[in-house]
Symmetry: C2
Amino acid sequence: MKSDLCAQLGIEFPLFAFSHCRDVVAAVSRAGGMGVFGAVMYTPEQLRTELEWIDANCGGKPYGVDLIVPTSIQRQDNAPSGTDLIGALPESHTDFVTETLAAHGVPAEGLDENRADFLNFSRNLDAAGAEAMLDVAFSFPIRLIANALGTPPAVMLERGRRAGVPVAALVGSRKHAERQVAAGVDILVAAGGEAGGHCGEISTMVLVPEVVSVAGDTPVLAAGGIVTGAQMAAAMAMGAAGAWCGSVWLTTAEAEPSEVIKQKLIAAGSGDTVRSRSRTGKTSRQLRSAWTDAWEGKGPDPLPMPFQTLVSEPALSRIEKLAAGGHEGARDLSTYWVGQGVGLMNRMSSAGAVVQEFKQDYLAAVERLNATLEE
Amino acid sequence: MKSDLCAQLGIEFPLFAFSHCRDVVAAVSRAGGMGVFGAVMYTPEQLRTELEWIDANCGGKPYGVDLIVPTSIQRQDNAPSGTDLIGALPESHTDFVTETLAAHGVPAEGLDENRADFLNFSRNLDAAGAEAMLDVAFSFPIRLIANALGTPPAVMLERGRRAGVPVAALVGSRKHAERQVAAGVDILVAAGGEAGGHCGEISTMVLVPEVVSVAGDTPVLAAGGIVTGAQMAAAMAMGAAGAWCGSVWLTTAEAEPSEVIKQKLIAAGSGDTVRSRSRTGKTSRQLRSAWTDAWEGKGPDPLPMPFQTLVSEPALSRIEKLAAGGHEGARDLSTYWVGQGVGLMNRMSSAGAVVQEFKQDYLAAVERLNATLEE
């Protein structure tokens, strides 16, 4: 495709694959898009291992990394320890988890002991943790680094500039976009309210032209609900420079979700997702399940980030393991971050095949529009 | 534009203007789109007067009518009288209205006496009322008749077929669309959750391809958030046959809202709308105001349709009159149905100029996509 962004990043087709799965990242980059590795749940050592694998398996094509680096990274001198964080969890929340698991026949014993396994997320949010992740990321020949939540701190933008690596950031409103452009972000990812994971309330159809209108020369990628090349063409008709997709990779052979989750995603309709604060403390869209129903129905008010993660993830990890083993109650509880586009994800595929389908579908969409202009 | 739908309806450009204002309907039809008159709050006599005016002022171009004709029209033999409906309103609701008005310095005296003025809506929902409206509509050379809520009853589809008038219906989910296609609807209007007025939860970006995938040969119009020709091109890239817009006309010189509302709409961002059941009893998207905040914050659970209209409309009518006269409290309370696209509506225009801008913007969007294919 002829585009300034493709030329800048050295890619063929401006389809960005946000994925927690290294296989998806490498496959999409090899197929002409750009894989972006979502690293926020990893340690720096794990990130190094994953990026080594990606670098060896992406066929020399460009790839990127996605982190959550807090805007206030410079100010967090006395970050609380993991023990502090775990000790601060109120019993109202841990008890609710125990009851919810029990109601579906899932044992809750030992969850407290497992909580420390889920501290990477909070470690990566403090100054030392975030810098260690940036150190690892910039030790690889990455071609993009993205910040998933909020304005990237000056240190991240400076490191990007020094390394010649564009810094992208997700935005959910026009105001976010104005702030990010002023901060010097290189690429905006406009994420509509239908997106999986953290999201706002403004739909992709409205948000993309709103963000484009204030972005000036900064390229805008469209995110939220996009799982086909026709939708990508739609976003680009509104001025986007490409599409940033997360959900569509989840039902590929390479992707990290269990077979149970993949089958639930294929069966799900577009109305089977819910925006909830019950997973991370901030609003994120996920597959509706007995777990999300319990929190939305009668759960305590979720804790702020990063505390809620320490409440939810140990339980969800146990649920996932039991569900994979055939436990019915765990299957009902199991959930995953996914956007409304899940309603259009109706069969298993491979990451490379998804990229090829996007390209064909994009071309067909442009031809469809051209046909309306013929005399 | 070259399109089967344009040929079928005898229009130049498949932009449909849903409006309660006859001037907008006639202006859009004259400009090459199709005006569709939203008649649900009118009596049959008023509808006749309005359609006579439209017919005389649309320059011989096609126009349509939009009603709410309940699916169960055949079964409602003993519809309650207006007095029954008004007598059934619980004091919890009328008292809440009185308190909310008082908190903003708006007098509530005499609202009970005015309630009967707002019975048209409920009359039009019963069998005799709906048939009387259909009689008037079909006595004019309309080229489209639409049902705003639910599957049109067989009698409506039969009358459309006899008169050679396509019957359109709004859908908010894939399941709705399947039901409507099975019932024999001629045109589907896929209305995303970002739409003003009654709406579901699935965004336009996801809903349009979902509905297109089950529509077969039935043309699909895209609604929800669309206020520019680039967004219309986006929807058509995903397979829509055109765009159905309501909000964008509200900030035209011709439109019915008061100057106070028009200025509030121009100032509003895309995040300044709310989905609420407080106006009609069904979920509809409207401009956030002190009125919607009161209902969402501490209001009683809204009554089912058509009762809630008899609670809300007498108060909103008074609010509108006082706001137009400069009353500050009424200004804060005043609201209007509008979609998230309001964030892109930043200046006053005229209905004819909006159509011309859509055409130019549509062409520019197609050119933008074609530029990505050049070698």
